[in-house]
Symmetry: C3
Subunit: 287 residues, 3 copies
């Protein structure tokens, strides 16, 4: 029986990236649905729930993608609400790649050594990746600071993290060079997850920083988030520091994405969002 993935995407076209990745993960057939609205989810999911029965149900799964992360979450909610009792299929959400990217970045950082009790800073952390990475590091016992150019925005995101993940992350505002230095004071690790093509961390700040030990950047578009690093760096040692660039993290991200997709088809009741994806990643090598 063929493993069939129903790809739900709120963009006009279902993502080429997600479909190819699904095939590379061993899925037999991907049904691509673009322009999906929450109202249309139930009927599509019913088509997966009521075609195969019993153990065969695990051969049908749902993937929620698309570039709009918050709308994707509504679609995910509609998927799960379509199930009743044991009549359900496995589902994974990775809108805009934010779950697998955040998980891969945190796994890279954690691989250097425990971050428990350490100070971790997520710069430009109000986007989907930063928010998830902050939550996951807090879950690992780090004291996490999430920065934004606006105090109000970082506070709002920290509140969302508290509500969604049940962990504490502290908000911070970065307006100046002096702010950055203050925020990084005593920090063990920093993750840059701001907009593509914007430098958040100048070389002069990080290169001689006395406590910073692990640096990570998910921005692959020059100029990078961390000045003077390379995107392909993957556990690059510079002095006492270990650095991960976007492509170094990206390789692990792809592996995590594929591994999660392949697990969808081993049971019919998986719900893979950030936390569950992180748990799966923990069972994998970090390379």
């Amino acid at each position: 029986m063929k493993k069939i993935l129903i790809q739900l995407d709120s963009d006009k076209f279902a993502s080429v990236f997600d479909t190819i990745t699904a095939y590379d993960a061993g899925v037999d057939r991907v049904l691509q649905y673009g322009g999906v609205t929450t109202e249309e989810v139930r009927n599509l999911v019913y088509g997966a729930m009521f075609t195969r029965a019993g153990d065969a149900l695990q051969n049908s799964s749902v993937f929620v993608g698309g570039s709009d992360v918050s709308y994707g979450e509504e679609i995910m909610k509609a998927v799960v609400e379509s199930f009743f009792g044991p009549v359900r299929v496995s589902v994974m959400i990775d809108t805009n790649g934010c779950n697998t990217t955040a998980v891969a970045a945190v796994r890279k950082i954690v691989s250097v050594g425990g971050i428990k009790g350490q100070k971790a800073v997520v710069m430009g952390g109000t986007g989907p990746v930063g928010m998830r990475a902050a939550a996951l590091m807090a879950g690992e016992g780090a004291e996490v600071l999430l920065t934004s150019r606006s105090q109000q925005r970082s506070e709002k995101v920290c509140a969302s993290i508290k509500e969604r993940f049940g962990v504490e992350v502290s908000p911070a505002e970065v307006q100046s060079f002096e702010d950055i230095k203050g925020i990084l004071d005593g920090a063990y690790t920093v993750l840059c997850s701001g907009a593509a093509g914007i430098t958040l961390l100048p070389e002069s700040v990080w290169v001689e920083h006395p406590t910073l030990r692990v640096l990570a950047d998910v921005n692959a578009v020059p100029p990078l988030g961390i000045e003077k690093i390379k995107p392909h760096w993957d556990w690059k040692e510079k002095g006492r520091k270990i650095i991960f660039g976007a492509l170094g993290i990206g390789g692990l991200k792809m592996k995590i994405h594929r591994s999660c997709l392949s697990r969808l088809f081993k049971q019919n009741d998986l719900v893979l969002d950030a936390e569950e994806i992180y748990k799966i990643a923990k069972t994998m090598h970090n390379k």
Copy 2:
């Protein structure tokens, strides 16, 4: 050479259910087309007709689905009109599953014993399933009564049946409990094919009915069409009666659907609508 099914669906999205079923029937590739209008059919069908040649043509087929049954019939007409001479591909129509559901229900009823010359009642019979089931039972020689809450609607549907299938079905109106008892007087079998979640046949009427021998219900959403039965009943004996619930019928429906799809690819000139699907079902086991 890969077996390719061109799925034409008038709904915005091509049905997940129909696509998965096609893969389970052994189709190699399904090309899903949603939002298809009759004007667009010819060009899509030409793409199937003119790509492969000779014997290879039987590896391309067309499936007409969608929830709008009457529009699906117009699409089916446009498909068949696109053919010329031997340059054609096989095609099956099962909009909203109505053909395979009606065929499965009638096959279940007939499996108990001949209905020839017997009185058969189709309650809530003005929908696509009821209309087809009534026609098929009339074709088996039953004296069929088709009921509706409105005499006018049941008369209209009986006239459509006469025109489309060339068989006689008698219209009847059901407004009250007394009407039901009268209509079922002397009946051998009853099929409930009304709207989901509406009870048409009270337990007090059927449970001690002196002549009713076979009961079937295609409604799986509680409350069921026949009061106090279970959807999974499949040749359930209650006293002298044999009862088929929606899921009992549904299992056979799926098998018929898959079997028809698989036959599409054995020749290039099949046209599978209700009658032809019924003929194919007759060659199959009824379980």
Copy 3:
């Protein structure tokens, strides 16, 4: 690793013809995208560029189809502009089948014997097929005349050919029977590539023509472009003349189409437009 073709089509629905042909060429999975605009190309192509890496990139390719040839060329341009450096995928354009049809027609004509230095006439040559066939024959060293009912249109197309292909083709106007005779004076070969169902070359002109040796017609819809020939003729000898009808050419066209598609997946940097497709066809048998 599965060979995946991303099919970009500016028509509402991605062409059934192109998809089936891709599967017959050995492509494993076709991702069909219909209603594609130039603005949306980059994101779709990025999905192919950034999913697989290194040698694996050659397993993802792009096909540009659709019935609108000039818009397809803009899409093709947008595809190529999405690449940077070695991060790219192979791509083929065959909007409305015009490249493979023109190439097949010219290969058939050339297969009879060299056309170098000979006079070649493309009648009704202002469409996509005629324009490409004229350019390819000029590239083979023929003296090509391209006719239209309007001198202005044929001049415009010859200028486009000069700009796009860097070869000289002479424009000509055909308004009357006498015009045709004059234009064909001394010609060695004639290709009819006008609109479907319109006769361009009367039997009385060609049947006893003293110099015409090879005739070809890509119109399969009666009345044909060349009067009194048959579409299935493939190297049909009539007196001293060799004649190719639309279906005779069509068989080779399909082979060329499939062969090009299969080559896309052998490297990640092919760009297949008319000239490159012609070069590939030269390495193939002409039957």
